[in-house]
């Protein structure tokens, strides 16, 4: 960061842009960092505009219209949508069961041992670190890998997908819940803890009034991600929209694919509406 305003002094001072130098330096530094990255990612926008690829994309997207509306396909689509919704809901519910206790242990906002010096301070810190590490391990391995592991034990089907979602998203919920609890005003909870209330009571009366909205909208967002992740789960034969999508794409059936994508759009809009409604309810 350079300090601006040290130079100048001629008549053009009034027109000098006070932030220009800093922004220019930032831009140049960014470009210098980006250059090897572009090489590694084989950045080549011209490939997108080549005559062959444009033709392929145009043909494929042309097949998207009109969306497939045959009755038997729609019946299949409805069943797949229900399956996906059930998997996402069950996975998110299990993730909540894993993530909420992890966050409760990991968050510094509800620590009694941090109030003052006393026995057990180091033990509590170690416990918090352990909970953070567990949630990191859970979320660092992508859900598809967990799904592949569970498929070996449980066979093809929704069980592997639900467990994989629960584990990965449980780790994410645990981390994000803990961060949200720490980023709000923690003084009410601390006051409660200092006057001898339990941790759960301090959570309910000190922290939740401030951050219930953020917590609930993040949870709904995770549910939305779980709906989209069903595409990933199509790989392990979990059924649902993912498998249907896989079949349609492999057969290059654009009409069916666009119908499925429209369902995704509708589900995402539903998740938005749900998130807004929950926020209003908790207002």
């Amino acid at each position: 960061m350079s300090r601006e305003g040290s130079s100048g002094g001629d008549g053009t001072q009034a027109l000098r842009d006070p932030a220009a130098r800093r922004r220019l330096i930032g831009l140049l530094a960014g470009l210098a960092i980006c250059w090897p990255m572009l090489q590694l990612a084989e950045f080549n926008p011209l490939a997108l505009l080549g005559p062959g690829s444009l033709q392929v994309i145009a043909n494929f997207l042309g097949g998207f219209l009109p969306p497939a509306t045959q009755p038997d396909f729609l019946a299949l689509l409805a069943r797949a949508t229900l399956e996906t919704l059930a998997m996402a809901t069950a996975g998110t519910a299990l993730a909540f069961v894993i993530g909420a206790p992890l966050a409760l242990v990991a968050t510094r906002a509800l620590s009694r041992s941090r109030i003052g010096p006393g026995p057990g301070r180091w033990r509590a810190a170690a416990l918090r670190r352990a909970a953070r590490t567990v949630s990191m391990v859970l979320r660092a391995v992508p859900e598809i890998v967990w799904a592949l592991i569970f498929v070996r034990a449980l066979g093809l089907g929704p069980a592997a997908a639900v467990l994989a979602l629960a584990i990965t998203y449980g780790g994410m919920l645990g981390k994000v819940y803990a961060e949200v609890l720490e980023s709000t005003d923690t003084r009410p909870a601390r006051a409660l803890l200092e006057s001898g209330s339990g941790r759960i009571a301090a959570l309910c009366y000190g922290l939740l009034p401030n951050c219930a909205r953020e917590l609930s909208s993040y949870t709904v967002y995770r549910w939305e991600c779980a709906v989209r992740a069903s595409v990933v789960m199509g790989f392990v034969g979990a059924g649902g929209l993912g498998q249907l999508m896989d079949q349609s794409m492999k057969m290059l059936n654009g009409g069916e694919a666009s119908s499925i994508l429209l369902v995704f759009l509708a589900l995402v809009l539903c998740a938005d509406a749900l998130s807004n409604a929950l926020r209003r309810l908790l207002e």
Binding site: L40, A41, S53, V56, F60, F150, A159, V180, L265, V268
Partner: protein
């Protein structure tokens, strides 16, 4: 939630009835989902499946730590890192461009149209974008980066537009009325207010994209995912384990780096 009510505090009775109704509905939906899927959870804990899972996991050990393969995995990790960073960067640029009309700066019609485009970009899953991009630019990391960028544009554009709408308008208005051009008024009146939050959102999405970049390799997006898919499909579990470890290190590193950077940005959690 209000078991103990202090007399000085307003009672929240009428709202809580609705709260409990919503909680009951959510519980019902969850139970219905478990019922619909009819998963046999006893099978998970049965000795047979535990043995199968244990044997499968045992095949992954010991990981292949030969220098040649480690170098390969390191290269894959770098590629995944580049794909995720490039995807997030392109998305941040495109999201910022779309966020301007989406925040209602050029009329209600443009706002609605841009919001629809953003929702469309967001609701198509990354894997589907990746499949399309592989058709467009061929198998390789660039397809993965484009797929991430398209999906993330939808997410970031919406978040950017929301923070623009929440930021106060007065500084920009003052500059405009003082005779500044529209880009200058935006750059010096509004951008400084929202930039920290935009950066925090972008870093946060980068964290998620590094994980997704690993998955995109499964459909030909390059990097660690492609290696993992390759080695798992020819049953080289020990090599796959090395790739998994590399993935783990990468995700943990990016998580820590982004969290540290976000903490210095002095904004509330994204």
């Amino acid at each position: 939630m209000s078991a103990v009510l202090h007399p000085a505090l307003p009672a929240a009775q009428p709202r809580c009835l609705r709260c409990w109704a919503v909680v009951a509905l959510l519980l019902l939906a969850t139970l219905a989902s478990f019922g619909y899927l009819a998963i046999d959870y006893r099978a998970l804990a049965s000795a047979e499946s535990l043995r199968l899972m244990g044997r499968f996991i045992a095949e992954f050990f010991p990981p292949d730590l030969s220098p040649a393969f480690l170098a390969k995995a390191g290269w894959g990790a770098l590629q995944t890192l580049a794909v995720s960073a490039l995807g997030s960067l392109l998305a941040a640029a495109a999201g910022a461009l779309l966020a301007l009309p989406a925040s209602g700066r050029s009329g209600a019609a443009a706002r609605l149209a841009c919001r629809f485009v953003l929702n469309l970009l967001r609701s198509v899953p990354e894997l589907v974008w990746a499949a399309l991009m592989v058709l467009a630019v061929g198998i390789g990391p660039f397809a993965g980066a484009l797929a991430l960028a398209l999906h993330t544009t939808g997410v970031l554009g919406r978040l950017f537009a929301e923070s623009l709408e929440n930021a106060p308008r007065e500084p920009e208005q003052a500059l405009l009325q003082g005779g500044a051009t529209a880009p200058a008024a935006f750059g010096y009146g509004s951008l400084p207010l929202v930039l920290p939050q935009w950066l925090a959102y972008t870093l946060y999405r980068w964290e998620m994209n590094i994980r997704m970049a690993a998955v995109l390799g499964f459909v030909g997006g390059g990097g660690l995912g492609q290696m993992l898919y390759f080695h798992m499909s020819i049953f080289q579990q020990q090599q796959a384990m090395t790739v998994l470890i590399a993935m783990f290190v990468l995700v943990a590193g990016v998580d820590a780096a982004s969290a540290a950077l976000r903490r210095t940005l002095d904004t509330a959690h994204a």
